[in-house]
């Protein structure tokens, strides 16, 4: 599908929503707590000028990306091993099948008892949540590799390590990216959740929203939400860009 007209429509739609919102707020047909787009943009500017905003974003990003990095390393490695070696698979499958349907956010209080309300807890809960889509996608991707790829690798004398690195990994990459995209979305959801539950003083967009909530500053709340939304949006696009760079050979690329 051609993306250009769709992008145009997206911009028009967004502008229309903002315009209606602004008008309704301007005529005071909206309750004041709904603020208005211009007021929110102003507050975003204030927060930026304040200097704290960069800290809030920095700390939130640090937690998110540490968690996500763990997911990439552990999820992909275990996924490949579980898909390739049947014994690893039969060992890990029950654990994954049991844990996967559980709302992982419920594990947050357990971690809080163990590690306190710290970044360790937050990074771990992000990892525990985002691990599953990546692991499952990688494992299933490895399992669905065409036999002839492995056979011709063996035929050309490749060792098991060479098979895993030079055939299994590249063939599975499209699936890995599919899983990572879901994982990335969960990363930001859990970043927000872990910052807003069991609040502590410190930096983070979740804290910003929470404090604005307690102080009744809904314009700051909207600003905080907008920044989280922007982060989620930008990093999703970043992942898709990396994907299309790495998978330039993939005919089915999105």
């Amino acid at each position: 599908m051609d993306n250009k007209p769709l992008r145009m429509i997206a911009v028009i739609e967004l502008l229309a929503v903002f315009l209606i919102w602004e008008l309704l707020a301007g005529f005071q047909w909206f309750p004041t707590y709904l603020s208005s787009p211009i007021a929110i943009i102003k507050s975003m500017g204030e927060l930026w000028a304040d200097g704290d905003l960069l800290n809030h974003i920095g700390f939130s990003l640090f937690r998110s990306l540490m968690g996500f990095l763990l997911v990439v390393i552990v999820g992909v490695t275990l996924g490949i091993l579980a898909g390739y070696y049947r014994r690893v698979g039969t060992f890990l499958d029950p654990i994954v099948n049991t844990l996967n349907p559980i709302p992982k956010i419920a594990l947050l209080p357990i971690l809080m008892v163990w590690f306190g309300i710290t970044d360790t807890t937050r990074i771990l809960i992000i990892f525990l949540t985002a691990f599953f889509p990546c692991f499952v996608a990688t494992r299933d991707g490895v399992k669905s590799i065409k036999q002839v790829y492995l056979w011709s690798g063996q035929n050309m004398g490749a060792s098991t390590f060479q098979l895993l690195r030079k055939i299994v990994f590249p063939v599975t990459l499209p699936k890995i990216f599919d899983g990572l995209r879901v994982s990335l979305g969960l990363t930001f959801v859990m970043m927000f959740s872990s910052e807003i539950i069991g609040a502590a003083n410190g930096f983070g967009l979740g804290f910003l929203i929470l404090n604005a909530d307690l102080g009744g500053r809904t314009d700051y709340m909207f600003a905080g939400v907008a920044f989280i939304g922007l982060l989620g949006f930008i990093f999703d696009k970043l992942l898709l860009t990396i994907r299309s760079k790495v998978l330039w050979w993939d005919v089915n690329k999105v």
């Binding site: 056979w151 011709s152 035929n155 004398g157 063939v171 050979w249």
Partner: protein
Amino acid sequence: MTKKHAAMEIENLRKVYSTKKEEVVAIKDVSLTIPEGKFVSIVGPSGCGKSTFLHIVGGFIEKSSGKVKVRGKEVEKPGPDRGMMFQESALFPWLNVFDNVAWGLDIQGVAKKERNEIVEKYLKLVRLWDFRNQLPSQLSGGMRQRVSLARILAFDPEVLLMDEPFGALDAQTREEMQVELLRIWSESKKSVLFVTHDIEEAVFLSDTVVVFSGRPAVISEVIDIKFPRPRDLNLYKSAEFRDYRNQIWDMLHQEHHKPVQIVSEVVNG
């Protein structure tokens, strides 16, 4: 030279699949010898075990009993001494044509300069040097199989194994590929074990056609094709060609009723 070994010797090869309930004999004590430099085809009805047979020789599937030797050396697992060509393209979709052909050489640690020369030589042999920067997905089915052939020839196996390599191609491309294969084969002079369900393809290409009967697979007939080489597509029109074709056709259509075991010189090696 003390004793000259045949290119491939298969002795009493047996493959049994065990399920919980029963044991199914897929291949029953097949012996076959392929002399050096010969082109031997196996034909048989689909599901008769001819592909399984080839996969065992390739080392991809474990045999139940028997021996597989390549130039006198017994083989157990896959290895670059037997170049295997599959029906579906096994080219790696994330590598371009050049890198695909270079892959096996890299694995075996061939130095870069020498590697590039070998890749160039074989891509030119299959007439696809100009396509070296293309991805497999950008090539036609026939071109892909020519790259596959180049990839296998590049790592210089002792024998070639081909599992219906042209089975997925349309009739016209198939005939072109058969001529191509004969041209390339005549330059490399490697022994070939070729599996197909297409009788005419087998007759056109081979020095010897081995007819498999189905379930469990046994050799029901071995026929020497006495056409001179080089051969071209006009062969298809000759009366002798049709005689060979009809002979094998009859055999495939009656072998359900009574498998006959005729032992020829090739079997005894």
